[in-house]
């Protein structure tokens, strides 16, 4: 018996990669479009209650049935997607705006500034992400925006660490010396030379982070710290579905699958971006 270490067939791998990225991008396009056009696409209002139609099974009128207050689940799914995507984007945006500048400055300046920031990043990374996000949300005040700002704050050290490592490499480049010899300020060097040359791995990380942020949004909303009733998000829909699990178990599938597939698609997108930006490719 021997260890098999075949190196695979590149063509086959390429085909699979292409298929998964095409699927992921198409799926995300549909989700994003549906979210943006929610008021026009959704057949019903996401918050209008109909007490004659509580916990109805799927039908022609209600494709995914109705929830415990008689609201159309399909419409809530579409509107909930808007909240979930907005939340994920907001968290990643906050994380990027905090993490990238801090990391770049730490890596670029070095010295005691780097020591202090590095230790702070170690510390923040020691907090379990959701735990810190729950605590910060509690302090800032419950709600989707505060919750996702909290998630963004919790994510920022991951991006900061990556940006720091990148800046440490790029600042050694000769073109940085060249710019300095013309009298460029540190701000200009960071903005014009370090950032553009450090940005590729950051883009990959940010894309992958969308998936994690989406899951975090779902978790916070599920716990009641995110989107507040009556407005839906996928996580919040699962909370209600859970309460009525025995009466209407099918309610928990659509939002759960929506989260799973969107997170998968974000991850696939991240891998695609990684391959596209890979200089060795």
């Amino acid at each position: 018996m021997s260890l098999r270490l075949s190196l695979g067939r590149p063509a086959a791998i390429r085909r699979r990669f292409d298929l998964s990225s095409v699927l992921a991008i198409s799926f995300l396009a549909v989700v994003v479009l549906a979210s943006l056009l929610a008021p026009w696409v959704a057949p019903y209002s996401p918050i209008e209650q109909d007490y004659t139609q509580m916990l109805a099974p799927p039908s022609a009128a209600h494709l995914l049935g109705t929830d415990d207050l008689g609201r159309d689940v399909f419409s809530r799914l579409i509107h909930g997607g808007k909240a979930s995507l907005f939340g994920a984007l907001l968290a990643v945006l906050v994380g990027t705006l905090i993490g990238v500048p801090v990391g770049l400055i730490a890596g670029f300046r070095g010295g005691w500034i780097d020591d202090v920031i590095g230790r702070l990043l170690d510390t923040l990374l020691s907090f379990p992400a959701i735990v810190l996000a729950v605590a910060i949300t509690g302090a800032l005040g419950i709600g989707l925006t505060n919750g996702m700002i909290a998630v963004g704050v919790v994510f920022s050290p991951v991006l900061a660490r990556l940006a720091r490592a990148q800046a440490m490499v790029v600042k050694q480049e000769l073109y940085v010396d060249a710019a300095r010899s013309f009298g460029a300020t540190n701000t200009r060097i960071l903005w014009r030379h370090v950032l553009p040359n450090a940005v590729q791995p950051l883009i990959v990380q940010v894309t992958l982070m969308l998936a994690v942020a989406l899951l975090a949004e779902a978790s916070l909303s599920f716990l009641g710290l995110g989107v507040q009733p009556p407005w839906p998000s996928w996580g919040a829909m699962l909370t209600r579905a859970y309460h009525y699990m025995e009466a209407a178990p099918e309610q928990m599938f659509a939002p759960g699958l929506a989260i799973l597939l969107t997170a998968l698609a974000f991850n696939a997108l991240g891998e695609t971006v990684r391959v596209l930006l890979d200089p060795t490719n």
Binding site: E173, L174, Y175, D177, A178, S181, F182, G183, R192, N197
Partner: protein, 352 residues
């Protein structure tokens, strides 16, 4: 270090403007353990307006560190550097930024010196933007003018560095350095990375630019042919210190230091006027600057080394006007391996 005697090499023509002046200039890099790395360990020279000051040295001699120190990219750790009569270390950030305009550098690796994400246009315009020279439109015209000056047509303006050849990249670097109208240009191995076929073109470009713009060069290279071709004066650097300094004629025709002779012997075609003496080529590698030899740093490879060479650092002395050497045996009994008395040359020229 007490035995080091500092004699200041004077510029050859007395009263011309001294653009840059180094006095016992040192650049030491501290290490986590052990003594510091002495990349540049006390060199003294002046660069006067209009001349080309050549510095020749093997890799590891500290010549690139010296180049970076001259344009304030590398802080000096000892001695003094004076640029346009001012000490860069004492200047405010704003004044230093202004001073940098006058002292530019061209690096050895033309590709690494260009930000790969900027077009040629943006690259050449950058120094103008940094120094707030001209209006936006004026800068656009200036970029094309600069490119033209280094022999690149306007079609290059929108290309990226990876779309250029090595020689074209170096021309972009030159255009960019010229953008701020520098007085002194430090050229650190500017042709070493280029094809031999275009090295001569590049050197001619440097010569033309000097004639047109009245530039002053510090030309740093390991290539004797290059330094002999372009320089008015030449300094010979070894392990962080100068071994010899003099006019081109003094260095190439009447060298006093055994290291200079060894360099000339190794490349006879580089300087046809040099009367080659048959001798063993230079043996071995340049020692580590972490642990330089005691006394004269060249003694481990010197065919003439005697006891005193290990015991004391040879003084930096002016053996004739403008001709400096640091060697215990220069002008003394210089006997080649085949027995020829070499003293005559050195003594005769010193007496003249």
């Amino acid at each position: 270090m007490n035995e080091r005697v500092i004699a200041m090499p004077r510029p050859p023509e007395g009263e011309r403007t001294r653009l840059a002046s180094a006095q016992d200039l040192q650049v030491h890099f501290p290490r986590r353990s052990g003594p510091p790395l002495r990349a540049v360990d006390g060199v003294s020279f002046d660069v006067v307006a209009g001349e080309t000051f050549g510095i020749i040295g093997e890799s590891g001699s500290g010549k690139s560190t010296l180049a970076r120190a001259l344009v304030c990219l590398q802080p000096i750790t000892g001695g003094a550097l004076t640029l346009s009569g001012r000490s860069p270390a004492s200047l405010s950030a704003a004044s230093l930024r202004l001073l940098r305009r006058d002292f530019q550098i061209i690096f050895q690796d033309p590709r690494a010196a260009l930000n790969p994400r900027m077009t040629v246009r943006a690259l050449v315009a950058e120094p103008l933007e940094i120094q707030s020279i001209g209006t936006r439109d004026g800068r656009r015209a200036a970029v094309l003018d600069l490119l033209d000056r280094v022999g690149l047509g306007p079609e290059f303006a929108d290309r990226y560095p990876h779309q250029l050849s090595g020689g074209q990249r170096q021309r972009v670097n030159i255009a960019r350095a010229l953008a701020v109208r520098p007085k002194l240009l430090v050229c650190d191995e500017v042709v070493a990375a280029l094809d031999v076929s275009i090295q001569a073109d590049m050197l001619n470009l440097f010569k033309d630019l000097q004639d047109e713009l009245g530039l002053t060069y510090v030309f740093i290279t390991h290539d004797l042919a290059v330094v002999a071709h372009v320089s008015d004066r030449i300094a010979v650097m070894y392990l962080g210190v100068f071994m010899e300094l003099g006019s081109k004629a003094q260095i190439t025709e009447r060298p006093l230091h055994p290291y200079t002779r060894a360099l000339l012997d190794a490349a006879p075609q580089a300087v046809p006027s040099y009367r080659r003496v048959h001798r063993e080529p230079l043996q071995g590698e340049i020692p580590s600057p972490l642990a330089p030899p005691s006394g004269c740093r060249f003694r481990t490879r010197c065919p003439l080394a005697v006891e005193v060479c290990a015991a004391s650092v040879p003084a930096w002395r002016e053996v004739q006007p403008g001709h400096f050497v640091a060697c215990h045996r220069a002008g003394e009994a210089m006997v080649s391996t085949d027995g020829t008395d070499l003293r005559s040359q050195g003594v005769r020229s010193a007496a003249r």
